[in-house]
């Protein structure tokens, strides 16, 4: 065997388990979902009626789907850059040779362990009409009367965004930290000799060297935000209210898949549309944030 063929053989061998799992537990069910998306389905009654692309046509003209898409896009555009920036900044700060580094790391890691029900509950306390957030804002004179953050059409989605950023930053920060370990110290030393300041080191050395991981963080952020469901579901008890303010795409899918019986076909249609949107956005984002491919 030539070394080329050997490499191909090993490369393929390394990934065979992934292909198997991918096929059985993703491709097969996805194919099934796609078939459902072409039907009107009541799985319980066992009625499957082929309707072609009617569900897709319906989705394109469904005002609730439009609202959900706009809400979701707004969510992605605000949350993804914010959480990525905070995660990177905190990781760099942690990695800059400070004292008590281990302590800080552990403290920052703990929120990823806090149960989501506890987070939601604290959040509800914090942002209640008579809660500390309002006390503070009123006390400082930013607002005159307390705001009903979670129930007010203007603030509901923003409140969920804050909750999300708060909960996910530690995860991405931990990943950035691991990546920063791999940036060779020699690069920083050379830069110091050239008289570079901290900001220059950050922009000229750190950020370019973690581009692949930034790609990962951005893409996972995009995917996670496009699929945002938990917080919207909890805050609106599943309705997407008030007045569709927290209606996200995943919430709409869930409503048709599980809250109403007999609309599974439409749910499948929406899921496939969402997956397509996320995939396209991911590819575009990847291209924009050029990764040196090293192939």
């Amino acid at each position: 065997m030539t070394s080329r063929r050997l490499e191909a053989f090993q490369g393929f061998g390394f990934i065979v388990p992934v292909i198997l799992v991918l096929f059985v537990f993703t491709v097969l069910p996805l194919g099934y979902a796609f078939v459902l998306s072409l039907m009107r389905v009541n799985q319980l009654a066992g009625t499957y009626e082929f309707v072609g692309l009617a569900n897709y046509q319906l989705a394109l003209n469904d005002p609730r789907v439009h609202t959900a898409l706009m809400n979701t896009l707004r969510y992605v555009i605000i949350v993804v850059p914010t959480q990525t920036a905070i995660a990177l900044i905190m990781a760099v700060a942690l990695n800059s040779g400070i004292k008590f580094q281990k302590t800080f790391r552990t403290v920052y890691f703990l929120p990823t362990l806090t149960s989501s029900s506890a987070l939601t509950m604290i959040f509800m306390f914090l942002f209640a009409v008579n809660g500390p957030a309002n006390d503070l804002l009123v006390g400082l004179g930013f607002i005159e009367t307390p705001i009903n953050f979670v129930q007010d059409v203007r603030f509901a989605l923003n409140s969920i965004m804050i909750m999300n950023i708060w909960a996910t930053v530690p995860f991405y920060m931990t990943i950035y930290l691991a990546a920063l370990q791999d940036v060779p110290d020699t690069l920083y030393e050379a830069a110091s000799l050239d008289g570079a300041n901290s900001w220059q080191k950050l922009t000229k050395i750190t950020i370019p060297n973690v581009v692949p991981v930034t790609n990962f963080v951005l893409l996972m952020g995009i995917i996670g935000c496009f699929q945002v469901f938990d917080q919207a579901f909890i805050v609106s008890a599943g309705s997407g209210g008030p007045a569709n303010a927290t209606l996200t795409f995943s919430l709409v899918i869930y409503q048709y898949a599980f809250m109403v019986i007999g609309t599974m076909g439409y749910a499948a249609t929406l899921a496939i549309i969402l997956a397509a949107i996320i995939f396209v956005v991911s590819i575009v984002a990847r291209k924009l944030n050029r990764e040196e491919t090293l192939y």
């Binding site: 009541n42 799985q43 319980l44 009654a45 066992g46 319906l58 469904d62 005002p63 609730r64 509950m121 509800m124 306390f125 209640a128 009409v129 008579n130 809660g131 009903n148 979670v150 129930q151 007010d152 059409v153 609106s236 008890a237 599943g238 309705s239 997407g240 209210g241 008030p242 007045a243 569709n244 209606l247 409503q255 048709y256 599980f258 809250m259 109403v260 019986i261 007999g262 609309t263 439409y266």
Partner: protein
Amino acid sequence: MKKIARLITLIALPVMLSFFAACNDNGGGTAASGDADRPFAGQTISLGLWPGNDNEEAGMAAAIEEFYELTGITVELRHYHDYQVQLQAELVGGIAPDVFYMEAFLFPSLVETGVLYPLDGFMGSDFDANDFFAPALNAFRHDGGIYGLPKDMSTLGLIYNIDLLAAAGFTPSDIPNNIVDFAAFVEQVHNNSAAGVNAFVSSSELARHLFLLEANGTSVADADGFAVLSQPNQHPTLQLLMDGFHAGIVGRPADLGYGWSGDAMGLGNTVFIIEGNWVIGHLNMNFSELNYGTREIPLIEGANRSMLFTVAYSMNSASNNKEAAWEFINFITGTQGMYTWTDIARVLPTRASVADATGFANDPILAPFVAAGAYATPWQKGETLPIIMREYNNFLPLVIAGEMTIVEAMQQAEEAANRDIDALMR
């Protein structure tokens, strides 16, 4: 040799596994070794339910034990932690249990599909259907057949904090017994109460408002299942409630930082709530010092009204053990089984005779909730209710915030719901 042995194992193993799986699917029923008195002794049936609190778990265990003594049938429990998703998956997969909890709200969607087995055929001429509170039993009727017997029920009642009422200069006997006067009374209580005390805390969603909307006889769903929410005669009592919100007299639990009204009551932060009887156990357990009383909701449009939430035992159409399954349903919703279950679990029986036997019907705190069983509106309105509920809950906050009138918001809710119902369910 070794290779051949391994090959055989490779081929034989899946076959064996599928054989075992098939055995499991049958899940008993074959080993019938009954006698004349107990024809199904030795059989096993499966029961799908969600886990309850400690009292409910104890009540269920005791009832199942009694049933086993009586019939020799073993009941195997399967727990649902996300009832709607799990039950749907099991029914689609053909592995749902013989008997399962059937929420009234979900009932119309399921019975339409044929997955529930009608129980009328099992009921002998001596079956006393009239002992059940009519609204509870009727929630499980479909096309003239009965597809579930209600295990217990919850109704809404008025709960008041006696100390806070006294602080405002009133006694419980001052509470008026019709909703219009009651609204004015709540305002007085509000004016007389200390700052930080709420006169009335109310969760605002369709599950709590359905009976208000229908008080003048207009259903929220028409004969074809389309939403009807914007008719003026649906709104008088709702308007009173919304006026209360706008005047700052009524608050939602979430606005005040509470998970639900029961916590606001328990913490002594509200004089009145309208809640289900599940709040009683909660108050007694977690807020034992609270001095509170209960009564029926004041008359609305001249009549007693409330909401009724109920769950039945239904039989799986695909069950292989229908006879034994019926034995269980008949026992646990019969006078003996229901007594054991409700007495230990402290939940409201759906049989009037059991409500008397447990003493709940005469218990000063529980009696108003039992009484409502006779007249309350079940939380069940056909298969389109999930969509109607979704849009009602979606748009009502705009009315509470004062951004829309009831009619404006309800027209939008109605339109959104009906667009969906028309496109997907008709």
